[in-house]
């Protein structure tokens, strides 16, 4: 029975080809806009998240509080962390190891050109291995740093490109850090994260003795816990220790202990708020498309008043009339949705390819999950049927006698 209704609806849509097409154009423009924007937005969010998501679930970072959003970790803090804290944290139950990290901005000169970036320290001794595992450091060419390497650096992967300094840096080259000559011993593998790909790694000793960085002001303390299930407990213990060491009361902490996951979640929710705003504006066009469906359906009912009268007089029930018109509008929505999803996907992937080719940016990516495609399809069907309810209801309630008498 339902199949017959559907066939009948489809036939009606075909009869009014121009109008059906125009109505569907309205829907598929809206769906295409929403699908492509969500796809690109999601891709961008994933790309941004992957920039920061290089730390494992068993890692905690300790930072002094301050205006941390304004620069790299450790800058813009009120009271920096002292260098004896890592040793004390290491003694906490459940902590595998903890070590200081120094992040300093500075200049790097090569090929008579200068750039500004961040140099990060690598701890010496056993913790070197821990850090290498923690951020999965591997040399693409040359080697990683080892103990006793003074005036030696390892550079992120993007330094091997020609664009930063006119020609790419290779291991064996010499660069000037803050005016002091260092030898490049290795280039890291590409990470896809602009932080790691543009980093300058030096031994902690070179950082403090050669570059003269104050070793008493620690930027971040990296903590590796033994058991990631107990990370919450360890975090509390560290907070307790730091409150005592820094002489502050609970609720007045001037430091933060965060797992990378927490940082990511905070970032993710901010990004989502921005995305949502864009989606709402895009969704407005869907509402407009829905109104178009409603309009078309009202017109359709009006035109077919006599037809409805005939159907009713030969025994069609109200529910049958309702179903016919309801399916018709649902079909309008769904066909519009299918075309819209197809167009939206091609736009999103087209833009991401264009972004990669023209701008060379990894940030413009499209991520269209099957869920998104399916969601958009069912939404457009829902939209069609929703905006079809009133016209269909009107049609079903028509009085057979009056409608037979109707002028057309």
């Amino acid at each position: 029975m339902l199949k017959d209704y559907a066939a009948f609806s489809l036939k009606n849509l075909r009869n009014r080809r121009l109008r059906s097409w125009l109505t569907m154009i309205g829907i598929f423009i809206g769906i295409a806009a929403v699908v492509s924007l969500i796809g690109l937005g999601e891709g961008l969010r994933l790309a941004i998240m992957s920039q920061f998501g290089f730390l494992g679930p068993d890692v905690l970072g300790v930072q002094a509080s301050g205006l941390t959003f304004a620069g790299p970790p450790g800058s813009n803090v009120a009271t920096p962390l002292s260098d004896d804290l890592a040793g004390k944290i290491r003694r906490i139950n459940g902590v595998e190891t903890a070590f200081n990290r120094y992040l300093e901005s500075g200049t790097l000169e090569f090929n008579d050109r200068q750039g500004i970036g961040i140099a990060a320290s690598v701890p010496e001794g056993e913790n070197r291995k821990v850090l290498e595992v923690m951020i999965n450091l591997k040399a693409e060419s040359g080697r990683l740093l080892k103990d006793g390497d003074t005036r030696k650096v390892v550079l992120g992967n993007s330094f091997k490109n020609d664009d930063a300094f006119g020609k790419g840096i290779k291991s064996g080259d010499r660069v000037l850090l803050n005016g002091i000559t260092f030898e490049v011993v290795g280039i890291l593998e590409k990470k896809g994260s602009f932080i790691l790909d543009s980093i300058v790694l030096l031994n902690e000793g070179s950082m403090t003795s050669v570059l003269g960085i104050d070793e008493k002001k620690v930027d971040v303390i990296a903590v590796k816990v033994k058991d990631q299930d107990r990370i919450a407990q360890v975090k509390e213990d560290i907070e307790k220790l730091l409150r005592k060491e820094r002489n502050v009361e609970k609720g007045e902490e001037d430091f933060q202990v965060e797992s990378p996951q927490q940082t990511l979640e905070a970032l993710s929710s901010t990004l989502f708020a921005v995305q949502l705003f864009v989606y709402i504006i895009a969704a407005i066009s869907l509402a407009v498309g829905g109104i178009g469906i409603m309009n078309t359906m009202y017109t359709s009912v009006l035109e077919r008043t006599k037809e409805i009268g005939i159907m009713k007089s030969i025994g069609a029930r109200n529910s049958a009339i309702f179903t016919i018109f309801f399916i018709e509008s649902g079909l309008l929505g769904m066909i519009g949705g299918i075309i819209g999803v197809a167009i939206g996907m091609s736009v999103a992937y087209g833009v991401s390819i264009a972004g990669r080719v023209l701008l060379g940016s990894d940030l413009i990516r499209a991520s269209i999950s099957p869920l998104l495609a399916l969601g958009a399809l069912s939404f457009s069907f829902l939209l069609g049927s929703l905006f079809g309810v009133l016209p269909a209801y009107q049609a079903s309630k028509l009085n057979p006698v009056d409608s037979l008498r109707s002028a057309k």
């Binding site: 125009l22 309205g26 959003f69 800058s75 009120a78 500004i116 961040i118 007045e252 066009s285 309009n295």
Partner: protein, 403 residues
């Protein structure tokens, strides 16, 4: 076109109330969002222009390079000698080096982290003009105010920064040192600047002895008759030589106030333009809807068109009648859209103001209103063109026979 054609169009729209109102609704929504978005964009532009006018376009910044937010990277700074050197250059009117640093602010047993800025007391008139911020209650800082602080606008309200509102005479702690609050600055309009804390240069140097003579940025003005961008180029070149740096390897950059604001407005305009473009999609959909409605309308009135032609209506008359009808749909939608958009942006503006973004203040110049109306009329008329042309080409005999 005469009055009868318009009246005829209005009558027809009235007869098909439901369909007309749905079509109008569809264009209304798009115009509402475009109007609202544009009013914010124009509002920000206006805010920036006012700022530039107030601060005067003779101002320049010298800023240290570095990573992170401007002026916050402590490894890059401008030294006192740099400032003294530039001060002696021709064409420089006034100049002041500014200390700027994150600090811990404590009040009522709560801690917050905000930026601390040093006010150069003997150049306060100049700084107030450059930042276009005055002290609105209490008094300004003066020579010898070692334990006094002036706070940004937002500190005066409860639950904004601290639970309690701070009043004149209250004591706060900055990095553990006690200060008395002696004044508040007026509202700048963004939560960043309105939370700054100001102390004197001497007091700043006591608090952070290792930052002495290391300025985050330098603000200066050009003498009358001196072109600020020429001066910027000159300062850049001379200071580079003074600091013995090579071209392209400077540790600083010089920017005129206008350039700095232009960068800001460009970013805002790009973002706003993207949003308007997305909102424009809904106008495209509405365009299709109007077209659809007009095709339907013509189909229904085929006989009528036949009659009109039979009694002497020309093709161009029919064309005009339907284009006017479609244009009217657009215009009415635009009119309502502008009204609704006005309401939406006012609500949005007051929400933004209450959350500290007073700079997000919508502005409605006449050109925006007229522009939106003309645009919506044109969208309607353009959407009506193809249906109207089909109507005008109908053969009177066929049209009269149409059932």
């Amino acid at each position: 076109m005469n009055i009868y054609e318009i009246r005829y169009a209005v009558q027809n729209l009235g007869k098909r109330k439901l369909r007309s109102s749905l079509t109008i609704l569809s264009i209304l929504i798009g115009i509402t969002s475009i109007f609202a978005l544009l009013s914010f964009g124009i509002g920000i532009q206006k805010y920036v222009d006012d700022l530039a006018d107030e601060a005067g376009r003779d101002k320049l910044f010298i800023q240290a390079k570095g990573v992170g937010a401007p002026g916050t990277d402590e490894n890059f700074f401008l030294a006192k000698e740099d400032v003294e050197f530039v001060e002696k250059m021709n064409g420089v009117n006034e100049i002041a080096g500014i200390y700027f640093k994150a600090a811990e602010i404590k009040f009522d047993d709560q801690k917050r982290f905000y930026f601390l800025m040093a006010d150069v007391v003997d150049k306060l008139d100049f700084l107030e003009e450059a930042f276009s911020v005055k002290v609105i209650s209490g008094r300004r800082l003066k020579e010898g105010d070692l334990d006094k602080a002036v706070l940004g606008y937002n500190y005066q309200f409860e639950d904004k920064i601290f639970k309690k509102a701070i009043r004149l005479g209250d004591k706060i702690e900055i990095n553990g040192n006690r200060y008395e609050v002696i004044g508040f600055k007026e509202e700048i309009g963004n939560p960043q600047d309105d939370t700054n804390v100001y102390i004197t240069v001497e007091s700043f140097e006591q608090l952070f002895p290792d930052r002495k003579d290391k300025f985050s940025f330098v603000i200066m003005s050009a003498q009358k008759g001196v072109n600020p961008s020429d001066l910027a180029d000159r300062v850049e070149e001379r200071l580079r030589k003074f600091k013995d740096q090579e071209e392209g390897k400077e540790s600083f950059f010089v920017q005129t106030f206008d350039d700095a604001l232009a960068t800001f407005t460009t970013i805002i305009n790009v973002i706003n333009g993207m949003l308007v473009l997305i909102a424009f999609v809904s106008v495209v959909v509405a365009f299709v809807n109007i077209m659809n409605t007009m095709y339907t309308s013509i189909l229904e009135r085929t006989k009528e068109i036949g009659v009109m032609k039979a009694i002497g209506a020309k093709n161009s008359d029919i064309l005009l009648v339907f284009i006017v009808e479609a244009g009217l749909i657009g215009l009415v939608g635009g009119l309502l859209g502008v009204l609704l958009g006005y309401v939406v942006s006012n609500i949005g503006g007051s929400i933004a103001a209450s959350s500290g973004f007073a700079l997000l203040k919508p502005s409605y110049p006449l050109s925006l209103i007229v522009g939106c109306l003309v645009f919506s009329f044109l969208v309607g008329a353009a959407a009506g063109f193809f249906p109207a042309r089909r109507a005008s080409k109908l053969k009177p005999v066929d049209a009269l026979r149409y059932e």
